[in-house]
């Protein structure tokens, strides 16, 4: 993704947004792929059962308009097994929700000091809410427990990338995404950018060309590939990629600008000027929309750190925390986390499915136990 738009995929963007007052965006999807079938058999079976119905990340529309989480959970919408279960109360302020997230992370670390998944997830929570130092400690600890643990490598890679330590970032991200290729889609921008900033755009080209052949590239992926070709002086190839990006997403103002750069290099200044003008029009439109939102927010007097955004993130983290607990056989803790996820977002179907499966599994185990007796 182009840097400005790629911000939404960076872990820790929330903290930056909270610090700067910018609007927050959806959390990194890698959290939702944290399904590893290892550990206590009951937990493993549970995870297998709960992930079988769907592998799609949950849809989580903002709950900003829901004045009360509890009241939104009408009994008829809950699985029958959950009707009697009260949902936990949540803080209503941003600070309170962040504190809640930090407690979640603290407890993960306390409960599972030997679990690289738990440590890594806790690190992600800390990093998201502005505690990069603590996150780094946990990712390092995670790697001591399990050298080569992919999520930890990638987490540390992002820290390095944000600090401009591109050589180190590239190394960590490359090792992490090699260990778990599923993470590549989440970190491809940081990896590509790290290579380009450390004199290795060829590697960016190789990576993205391969990804393009295997999976196809998004408009932003095509844009980054074009940028890498520009860095190498492959202007014709760069031009092609920018044109492909625009064909896939005509709104991509950056691609117009970059295409102008390639056209200048190819000795086509008039064509370049056309694209620079189109860039200007589209960018102006984007900025006007952005300014209108800012103005409305200022006029409303609302806090720029929207509790609804933080609640969404807390919900996602709770889902993942529950899965780790389930894997470790701590089913009561898993239930608590998934109930919290529902409290954060009553429409979280994934959390509902997990809870429902848990209940069915608990009922089956109970039945088996009775049968043995």
């Amino acid at each position: 993704m182009a840097p400005g738009r790629g911000r939404s995929l960076r872990p820790g963007y929330v903290a930056e947004g909270l610090a700067s007052g910018e609007r927050l965006s959806r959390p990194t999807r890698w959290l939702l792929f944290l399904a590893v079938a290892v550990a206590v058999p009951a937990g493993a079976i549970l995870v297998e059962r709960v992930t079988r119905p769907t592998e799609q990340p949950p849809q989580s529309p903002s709950t900003r308009s829901a004045p009360s989480v509890q009241s939104a959970l009408a009994p008829e919408h809950l699985p029958s097994s959950l009707e009697a279960v009260p949902l936990p109360a949540l803080p209503t302020t941003t600070e309170g929700l962040i504190a809640e997230a930090n407690v979640l992370a603290d407890r993960l670390v306390e409960s599972f000091p030997g679990s690289p998944h738990a440590l890594s997830l806790a690190g992600q929570v800390y990093y998201t809410f502005g505690r990069a130092g603590k996150a780094t400690e946990l990712w390092e600890q995670s790697l001591r427990v399990r050298p080569g643990f992919a999520e930890a490598l990638c987490g540390l890679g992002v820290v390095a990338w944000e600090r401009g330590e591109y050589v180190r970032a590239a190394s960590l991200l490359e090792h992490g995404t090699t260990a778990d290729p599923g993470l590549l889609r989440e970190y491809v921008y940081q990896l590509a950018d790290s290579w380009m900033n450390s004199g290795q755009p060829k590697r960016t080209v190789a990576l993205l060309e391969r990804a393009g052949q295997e999976h196809g590239l998004s408009p932003d992926g095509l844009f980054v590939l074009g940028q890498a070709h520009l860095e190498l002086g492959n202007y014709q190839e760069a031009k092609l990629r920018f044109e492909q990006a625009l064909a896939a997403d005509p709104r991509l103002a950056s691609a117009h600008y970059a295409l102008g750069t390639a056209l200048v290099a190819l000795g086509m200044p008039e064509e370049a000027q056309k694209h620079r003008r189109q860039y200007l029009q589209k960018k102006q439109r984007d900025l006007e929309a952005y300014d209108r939102r800012r103005k409305a927010l200022l006029a409303s007097g609302r806090d720029r750190a929207d509790p609804a955004e933080v609640r969404t993130l807390l919900g996602r983290f709770s889902v993942e925390a529950g899965r780790i607990c389930a894997l470790e056989g701590r089913l009561d803790q898993a239930q608590a986390h998934w109930l919290k996820a529902l409290a954060c977002n009553p429409a979280d179907s994934f959390a509902r499915q997990l809870l429902d499966a848990l209940r069915r599994e608990q009922g089956r185990m109970s039945h088996l136990g009775q049968a043995r007796q």
Binding site: A2, E16, L18, A19, R163, S171, L230, Y279, L280, R294
Partner: protein, 574 residues
């Protein structure tokens, strides 16, 4: 689960990676080729900046202030002028705040002479430039304020006179930014470009709430403002030509500015960093007209078309291709931008290729300079950093209010290496930098650094790089052209080393420095050829000059060796 055969190299990689934590480059052990030492305590400079803040979070607090280094009294020693804020509305004033002038006594000692010089303006100082606008041989000062601006005419006896009203350049009640003297029409008189930041008033002040606390607003929360251009009428007065020149047609959020002849047509152009808006490149078309060409020239934004928070620009030929390139600082999580001049009026963003984002991207970056600190003949980059949200650490430990400066050493092949960690204790000081000035304060042939810190005392770094390379300093004296030689283009050829530069008034973050040109010559002990192209086309050529000295060149005559550097200090010949 990772296969065992992959684990060993991974562990090694991880350990190597950890060994590099947390610095980009190794912790300081053996110093590198550039050494900057913090000598603030021994200088006698006790200036402490105020931004006039009192908890209201006025945006203007964040952009204060620049500074100027120049020889105000003609004694051959570079003096320093610090701009200061003043209490803003709602702030209780404990003591009057004013700008301060420090006279260089030699040997890195300074004495404050503000009152006797009469330059203690009590306005809200933001930007400054220096230039001999009346061609009387004395450098004058222009201060760009939040509020009316001030033109100080140098009387030549150690004192200045406020001639703002008479000159017609006070300009009203805007939020100022950078300023530059330039001779845009080549008539031999220095004209004046005055940049403005956004349109801020106490009435349109906003402070958004983030996590229950007020924060500084974004520049996009305020209306944009055009800049001003004043033509010197040669009689001590200026005429405003903002509208007729075309400058006034473009409203922006100006910060640092620099004037340069980027397209080598003999006419001085103007580059303006805009904060979260497209930068401006005003191309001088002659006849007093300018066209704004930044977008087509490739300097309006960064390589992906993002509008960065442009702070301070500097220019220099970093790659020895005979063209002036541009470097620009910006905000945190934005890469500083290096625009390589391609010729034909075009630039290319080579930030990634040059490696100038390494170890810089996470900081808020302000004053900067393309300076040859080790005299190897290649321009290095110094960046003063520091956040603007003074409570940033309450929200995140990924940013810090006080930050160390950054030093990028030119590798001589179009790339830079971050050497901040191996360049002396001066690079370890944690600051809230704004304007930065670069000049040889002790006349030892090595360029030193003066940093204006927001709300804090200034910092002075002495260049103690190993004295193994040669250098040459050049002072121009115009006769038909403006007295300072502002806008003159200088080329120095020493063996296989060819360097070019221009004389600028106003550069970096709203500051002024470098009226005395400095060239590092590497191992070359002599300059084969020195060419000066004056505004208007006149050319002076000198050949076979000894290195390690300051040479004063008067327009139209042979070089006058006005001073000779010896081991004991500076000697002036009459």
């Amino acid at each position: 689960m990772l296969e065992h055969r992959l684990q060993a190299p991974l562990i090694a990689a991880i350990c190597c990676g950890f060994a590099a934590l947390p610095a980009v480059c190794p912790a300081a052990s053996a110093p590198g080729p550039i050494v900057l030492r913090d000598v603030t305590g021994q200088t006698g400079i006790t200036f402490c900046h105020t931004d006039g803040s009192g908890g209201q979070h006025y945006i203007v607090e964040t952009v204060a202030s620049g500074l100027a280094s120049f020889d105000y009294d003609g004694d051959g020693l570079i003096d320093v002028y610090f701009l200061n804020g003043r209490p803003l509305r709602g702030t209780k004033a404990h003591a009057p705040a004013k700008n301060a002038l420090y006279r260089n006594l030699g040997s890195f000692r300074f004495r404050e002479v503000t009152d006797e010089a009469g330059v203690g303006d009590a306005g809200y100082g933001l930007g400054v430039c220096v230039g001999d606008y009346d061609n009387d041989g004395q450098p004058d000062l222009y201060v760009n304020n939040f509020g009316p601006n001030v033109l100080y005419r140098n009387l030549g006896n150690g004192a200045f006179e406020d001639v703002s009203a008479r000159a017609g350049v006070a300009r009203g009640d805007n939020v100022g930014a950078g300023a530059n003297f330039l001779d845009f029409d080549g008539d031999g008189w220095l004209d004046l470009f005055v940049a403005n930041y956004i349109r801020f008033t106490y009435e349109n002040h906003v402070a958004p709430i983030v996590r229950g606390r007020p924060r500084y607003a974004s520049p996009r929360d305020f209306p944009l403002q055009p800049n001003h251009l004043f033509r010197n009428q040669g009689d001590g007065t200026f005429a405003e030509v903002t509208a007729s020149s075309g400058i006034g047609a473009h409203a922006g959020s100006g910060m640092g500015t620099i004037c340069l002849d980027y397209d080598h047509d003999g006419l001085t152009d103007i580059f303006v960093c805009n904060d979260k808006h497209w930068n401006f490149l005003f191309r001088n078309q002659g006849q007093g007209c300018f066209a704004e060409v930044a977008l087509m020239a490739g300097v309006a934004c960064n390589y992906v078309g993002e509008l960065t928070s442009g702070m301070g620009p500097d220019c220099g030929d970093y790659n020895h291709d005979g063209l002036l390139d541009l470097f620009m600082t910006d905000y945190e999580m934005e890469k500083p931008v290096l625009f390589r001049n391609l010729g034909w009026g075009l630039f290319e963003d080579v930030t990634m290729r040059a490696g100038v984002a390494v170890g810089t991207v996470s900081y808020v970056k302000w004053g900067c300079g393309l300076i040859d600190f080790d005299n190897d003949g290649h321009l290095d980059i110094f960046i003063g950093c520091g956040h603007l949200q003074d409570d940033i650490e309450l929200y995140t430990d990924r940013a810090s209010y006080l930050v160390q400066p950054v030093l990028l050493r030119n590798n001589g092949n179009g790339t830079f290496t971050n050497v901040s960690g191996t360049s002396g204790d001066g690079m370890q000081v944690r600051l809230v930098a704004r304007g930065v000035a670069f000049d040889d304060l002790d006349n030892d042939g090595r360029v030193d650094v003066v940093i204006q810190n927001s709300r804090r005392p200034a910092t002075i770094l002495r260049n103690e790089s190993p004295d193994v390379n040669h250098w040459l300093q050049v002072q121009l004296c115009g006769v038909k052209t403006n007295r300072d030689g502002v806008g003159a283009h200088v080329r120095v050829i020493a063996g296989d080393l060819t360097q070019i530069t221009e004389v600028h008034s106003g550069r970096g973050y709203q500051s002024h420095f470098g009226s005395r040109l400095h060239f590092g010559l590497g191992r070359h002990g002599r300059v084969d050829r020195l060419e000066v192209r004056w505004i208007g086309g006149g050319v002076d050529i000198l050949e076979n000059l000894a290195a390690d000295r300051l040479v004063t060149i008067q327009e139209g005559s042979a070089a006058q060796e006005s001073c000779t550097q010896t081991g004991a200090g500076i000697h002036f010949s009459p």
